[in-house]
Assembly symmetry: C2
Homo-oligomer: 233 residues x 2
């Protein structure tokens, strides 16, 4: 049974934020909220009659700052983050295999999917997977900074994400073409970077992308390791 | 039980397109598709393993051109449009009270909600309502062209949309602030233009908005009355 999340967009960094709400309870979780949208995001929580239980991060982002610390202070929700990302103020330091429970029997399963960063996690909820910057629609995250590794990303995708059922809906951390959602089955067959490519071919492809350094990285990563709060706060 | 639609965005005209897909069948419907996104939208249908059964329009848009004719030709889906909008090539000319059936028992109920245009319709599917440009999140559509009428819009909202259950999720035809979804209950209590306002106050407010004429209106309306196809095609 597909229960889609609410998908919210930050046009500045092309980041997707997700609100997970399920039948039978008003408890909700939010994944990867963006700093300057905290009011918009709380307005969604309020309009939908929800109570925020968890704020999840897929990794310590380099292109935008999280609102996790702010939302935590305002709602009392708990911050749940990958244990390998150095986000020390978060209550819950997640490890592969953990399960987060909320609402009336809702479960979020935690998958460690390193590659974009060493600590990156993906989250599985019902028939949906939230892949952060590990797997994107018809693409994948870059692997050239923050303990990134093309070989690790290849392994995460092939041996974790692509082993989910084919009809699992895949919700990315970013999209630059107005695309909202894909499925694991489609990405397995068609993903331009990963489908029908060997580990060696993928590593070579990623080594030659020659991407510019993210403008915000020196500000965003330290800020995100503090849940987006000013240091000392 | 809330089964959210897939929500797609056109950044140029801030238009939302919706894909409605339901458990138990691969049949889907699409509401208000935008011309230059036809490939993106078909890619979503394909990636999700869906088959398009219906293409719905909420009205003859003045700010963008529909891809309904193109999608119809490529998928064999039927075009279903408000009977009062002059969109003559569509198979189904909808009237208030009609029900569109697809998938495994899915129903879309048709509400005539004039005001933004004389023919505008809203569509109710499960616990969701798609309000086109009649009701927007914390706002409403303009009423100063195409048989628009502030008094008619007020009546549509108060006597049709606001009589839906409070927890009905409300998905607008546009949003200019990155907002995705609201609920009927919230809009009843807080909508900046409509909540706690009399008919007279609302009509006066709308008469004084002094909005510029939509740039595309002379192209878009005739095009949309032909499902976005070139005339003569």
């Amino acid at each position: 049974m597909n229960v889609n999340p609410i998908q919210l967009f930050d046009a500045e960094s092309s980041t997707y934020t997700y609100i997970l709400a399920a039948p039978g309870s008003n408890e909700a979780a939010i994944i990867d909220p963006v700093d300057h949208h905290w009011e918009r995001d709380l307005a969604h929580i309020e309009r939908l009659g929800l109570k925020l239980a968890y704020i999840l991060e897929t990794h310590a982002h380099a292109d935008h700052v999280t609102s996790a610390g702010k939302l935590r202070a305002l709602t009392g929700a708990m911050a749940a983050v990958p244990s390998g990302c150095g986000i020390s103020p978060a209550e819950l330091q997640l490890r592969h295999g953990d399960v987060i429970r909320f609402g009336a029997g809702e479960e979020i399963a935690v998958l460690h999917t390193p590659g974009h960063t060493g600590g990156s996690m993906s989250y599985v909820w019902r028939d949906n997977v939230f892949t952060g910057d590990t797997l994107l629609i018809n693409g994948c995250g870059r692997t050239d900074f923050q303990s990134g590794s093309a070989a690790a990303l290849y392994d995460s995708v092939m041996n974790k994400l692509f082993r989910l059922p084919d009809d699992t809906r895949m919700w990315p951390g970013h999209d630059y073409k107005g695309q909202s959602v894909s499925t694991i089955g489609w990405e397995k067959r068609h993903n331009a970077r990963l489908a029908n490519r060997s580990l060696e071919q993928f590593v070579e492809l990623m080594a030659n992308l020659d991407l510019p350094r993210p403008k915000l990285i020196d500000v965003a990563v330290p800020a995100n390791r503090n849940l987006g709060l000013p240091h000392g706060a």
